[in-house]
Symmetry: D3
């Protein structure tokens, strides 16, 4: 397979790619053509189908995997694929992992580690609640492992939500061992649930984009409501505990201006906010600095960190 | 009945008041006594029961109505009631309206006006939803009419939630007639529901204080969840419409730093934010300036308005 | 007439347009040419006059109406008009409304509605003052009806200042009926005057751009001074009332950081601030969403509303 | 004369003071009495007239000079004057300078120095304008010399407005010699006028408090309008120059959130902002640190400077 | 020993306390007396020595340990000690730990744990540097263990600086195991040094107050300079590493407005900022909630957390 | 010499320029070429060396002076130099002042004026300290005179640091004459040192870019440490004076969010902040408006001044 980041002007391409986007358009002279964006895990490339009679042109939609034949040209300094022939592929002809960004860690192992923490929750109500999602609900569990934690920024890849959640849970585990004021059961539960709203805020791969609900309600609201609804199905779940768990989820961004409608008001909410922020920012730093080859050279201004940034020299 | 604001040093009191607060305490010399706060609609007064053998002392709790006999003294320049005798009253001996702040408008008439707007909603799903609260659920309707919209600040009285909601709905009615981009059904529904979360955020009178849920979740979250839950019981309620209505409720404070987890993203959400703010602030101004007797004199710095304020001269 | 938004590459044009801008320039090889921007109510197009001997080239200035003959080409993907021949038009050959953005509402009807409110002002001093502008001063009245309320953003079209002022007055009318603390005469007068400074802050169409005074002083300052000056010509105008009216005008942006040197300190000033903000933002929303065809699709991030925005689904 | 700051418990007083405030009140037992605040240049003291038949009690008003006889007591740890007898004084019996805070510099000399700068203005229009206030208008000149620049904070004493204005003009003189981009005539004129609005924002001594106009309009607006009005009486005053001068006055606070409706847009406006800020803050520092006796000891947190402050050790 | 928090009105006291403060004063009637504040680890009490001839009155200074004899009275509702006799104590008569707030953890054990981390640093230059402070410099080591990390807020007790530093190092240890982008040696060194400036910013117990240098320079600046100076004594210390370590110290508050002159620009600086913030806030939460007896009751508004706070119910 | 700003398409160039930047690159077709940026004091131009066998191509580095022969072409509307031949120049063939921006004032005269102020410092310790840098250390003195005060913005030219420092010292001289609370010796010393950290924050010309230390530590920190270190070599330098001087340097940006870790806490620190800000902003205004030819025309929005700006009309 010829990865997109390796393509050069003048080359002929005949390979399978994911069609990320497809739209009919019209040239300035009124001739119809198709604009397509192709993707693999190394990047994307614009493709044009100028000939409306091109073979296979009507057989595929966005998010299909397609085999394309064509030539690489350079237009205004940017590479473009001039498509001659297209064929929609069948499942089995391709491995989705070649076309989507994926966690560098093993998803199965991460999930096993995560469920290890699930099993440590002793409070019967929280245990029931957490199990009902992560252990008993196979569809949820599968989707959770596959989901991304972001459209871009940090953990924006297959397995990203799992990797981030595991990172947060592990920090919370460390906190609860070192700061006796924290209740481990409540903190673990809150950590496990804190970003599940992202499964509805962001659509699944390959789309991985904000949903209508995501834009109108946001993952904080969505996740809190999911947990509240499920609690409603567990008899005698203590009301105060329910409110505390929901509070942890909705205050986990820490500040009103970051989208939390309440500031952390109990120790576990505060700890969750720190864990989420620490894992998110250190992962972002890792992703941003990752492509540099280890030397302490400045990468220029980064808006998130409000600073020029670089690796350290050691 | 002798209203609290008219009491003077040296007077003897023998009348019924609401007991807002009761607590046992100890003098510096180790003698037990009771601290009580009495309330009627004109204000509150501290009362002390120094003699642990005072009659009736153990028969009542906070939020009971009690008949007290005692003397008004002045301690450190503040009036205090020295209680000699106490008797817990039975329902019927008193009229709660004498002891609580109440809307100056007729609650029944306001609710009739509000249901008039309910009936104007044509969309079948929104109509069903709104009716299920305001018309079909008598307990909700009764509680809604009785509730306050605040612990203090604006509309902090019996009927306050109703009065504020009606004010907001009327503004929305005016908006929807003048700005065609607004959908009346969605806007009315959002206006009716926007503050119902306050019924759980703030406890009922006479307590009228923040609840545990109110502090942990807030009325924006609580109200949105109540509406979402009820929508779940209405078959075929359009998902997009559901999200839009929830969005209006959760964005009605207009800014993240005011506790809305999302900024208004659709015209109706923006309009609701204006209506809520306009009614709230003009009512606050009315309450603050109300006690001044009409002359344009400066009342000093007001933190909410970040300015010295006064009435105008006309 | 061939509207600019319909022009296509390769077409020949021979029609009248407004010349918005004209400047002599030099090619990289040192040959002189003219850059011109043409405008009609559907948009603008760049035009170049490459031949210094082109007929009519020296006869016109910016803001003249001109008949041009030439060809549409595409340069760097943007349409451009290659001008061959130009002729300056005489008044009567064109209708300015074809070349400028105009309110979708009837200007005469709006002004009649506005003067209806003028007549409702009962206070003799305010009535005299308001009449002296809107009724007695024909030149002012004519200019007021023609003016825009903005360079771009909201109400940036012929009649825009009138349409916005009317919208604000109507909101104030509604407020004054529902909130007894507001004095109608003062509020109406303040609403009528609140943006008249824009007539000097922004030049008349077709220029519609910030003036020197506009940039140095701003419409808040200019409008307040105009009103203060006129008050000086009305005998016995009460000093307090004069200050209150000026205060309403200068505080109508509501916050110091929005350019008001004082925060609203009297109820009418607060109400005017709400009316101005409500009308401005709902109109902006209408203008921004207007071009979308009714479906609830996201328009992307809008800086003014600090959110992605879309229409609602109803 | 016995200065207020030297009074001690148990002393008898028989001296002249300024009556800053007078109000009738009622004891908790319903007996009428008078509350009075007495002032001299060293401070103020509360005085009570308990006997409604006290001699002279009805003959004076606030801001009269009165001779009082009475005894100093301590109430709740604060000194108070128990008045026995009062007599309103005639002009000539007292020297106002003993009762009001006064500049430590000679007012006549300062004004002479200020008019020296007036004479350096060469532009005929600016010269006419400035002369019309500071030289030709004797009443203005006298009031200007006597006025304070603040209710409290910096330059809040007789001659304060003059002292501050002179300080600002001198800084502007230095700037204009060192930064050629600055026009001296415009900068001097702006400096001379920048705070004249305070003469209407703050009432004259001994009251020295915010006026109604001061609170509604503020000295920036008032001063700008005064200058604009006077310009209207000078034939052919260049319009651009008029706008620039007004702009300097209204932008001299430098930031919108400090009450300037425009940010400085021309070099002279920027320079005036620096001069005003520099003189105001260094004078404030001088006043705050002045009472300490020269040793570098910390005075605690100062809200204006957002820091603990002290003198330096040299 | 009778602890201060147990004293009651009417009791006679004859015990040893730390004199925190001593000042001569004058009654309103001109009689000299002494004001003294006494302290033990449970609190403080005001004491007055009214008789200038009281025995021992001239023999002691602030921060001496003194034996006092006197009576407890109540003045304005606050307990006060009326001192009759005083005697300055000799070392050995008292145990300082009874008079100062002390960490609840064993200082020796904590320091042993800390030096364990010191030994893990492999980079020869960082190892030399860290050892030169924590291992080789006994005076530093002793002072470090004894010092507080704050005047009040978090870790404001003997051993507080050590306890906080250890907490931060342990978090950094956890981070460096989980986030490969972090260099452990640099991060450990930065964590160990991050608050050593507090040893000069805050004076030693029993005073424990801001020093002159602390107020003028702050612990961030002081600590960075101490490290820079020591680096200068280590031959061939890499310049880049030196800058990175100093950068970590000076950016550890994370935001300019929190007193860091630079934002974190390398991963280790970012991680240190998270570790410092996490340990400080969780400890603050522990201290604030610690006095409540475990029930989830609201403690009211806390300025640091900008929220009402309480413990959770589990 | 042919200045870069005068070059036109089609011209042949054969002249000496400074090579600001040099990098090897690869065309899309895989052919190696060199990208070079050439600079003289009038601007910069991109140059390409397409032929890897071009003469002289390997003999020079960035920041060498080179003689180039080639042709000016236009690529995507931007001028570019197609290099045919290159030759590295020897010292003496060129005058650096032709290639770098330089102060319009005489550097020698400015330094003489500066040392005049150095000599006015009477305090023996401050005098020794200041002399040790500006008089005794010839290398420092030479570098100081040559250095820029910025990468761009204000005083970003050879001699800029000197010119700015002199401007600040002169303002401080004026302040110290007019505000007696200021100590001249301390203020002069602080002004002289306030920006010396820029000599290590920004590299020397021709590079004039942020150094690694500059980005990690900043000139405030660097300068303070340089002064602190030198003080350590002066016997008996008073500790308090040392802290005050360091405090002035580190607080001279005035606000934490501008990178000062402390707000000004003593009068001299406050004055230095005003002097630095005044000179910097007036110089920036001068540089920004300088290119306009004196007419009061608007230059558009300036981000630093947050306003459209123009010259005044006088």
């Amino acid at each position: 397979m010829k990865y997109i980041e390796t393509l050069r002007e003048g080359e002929r391409v005949a390979d399978i790619y994911l069609c990320k986007f497809k739209q009919s358009a019209m040239t300035k002279n009124g001739k119809p053509y198709e604009t397509v964006i192709l993707q693999d895990k190394t990047g994307t490339i614009d493709a044009k189908i100028w000939d409306p009679n091109s073979q296979g042109i009507d057989d595929f939609e966005a998010l299909d995997y397609i085999e394309v034949m064509g030539d690489i040209i350079s237009f205004n300094g940017i590479l473009q694929l001039n498509v001659k022939r297209i064929r929609k592929c069948r499942e089995g002809e391709y491995d989705p992992k070649d076309f989507l960004p994926v966690s560098t860690k093993d998803i199965g192992e991460m999930y096993a580690e995560l469920t290890g923490y699930v099993n440590k929750i002793k409070n019967e109500y929280l245990s029931k609640l957490v199990n009902s999602f992560f252990i008993d609900d196979e569809e949820f569990a599968k989707a959770f492992q596959y989901h991304s934690a972001a459209k871009s920024v940090h953990h924006g890849f297959v397995g990203g939500l799992l990797e981030h959640t595991l990172g947060v849970v592990k920090l919370c585990d460390f906190y609860s061992k070192n700061y006796p004021i924290l209740n481990r059961d409540l903190l673990f539960s809150a950590a496990l649930f804190h970003d599940i709203g992202k499964m509805k805020e962001i659509s699944r791969f390959p789309e991985n984009d904000y949903t209508d609900d995501g834009q109108l309600l946001g993952h904080i609201m969505i996740g809190t409501m999911q947990v509240a609804e499920r609690i409603g199905t567990i008899p005698d779940f203590p009301a105060k505990l329910s409110s505390e768990l929901q509070h942890c989820i909705l205050s986990h961004h820490g500040e009103l201006e970051f989208g939390s409608p309440k500031k952390p008001a109990i120790p576990e909410a505060l700890a969750l906010n720190f864990a989420d922020n620490t894992d998110a920012k250190l992962q972002t730093m890792t992703e941003v600095l990752g492509s540099s080859d280890g030397k302490p050279e400045w990468l220029g201004y980064n808006r998130l960190f409000e600073s020029n940034i670089r690796k350290s020299s050691l």
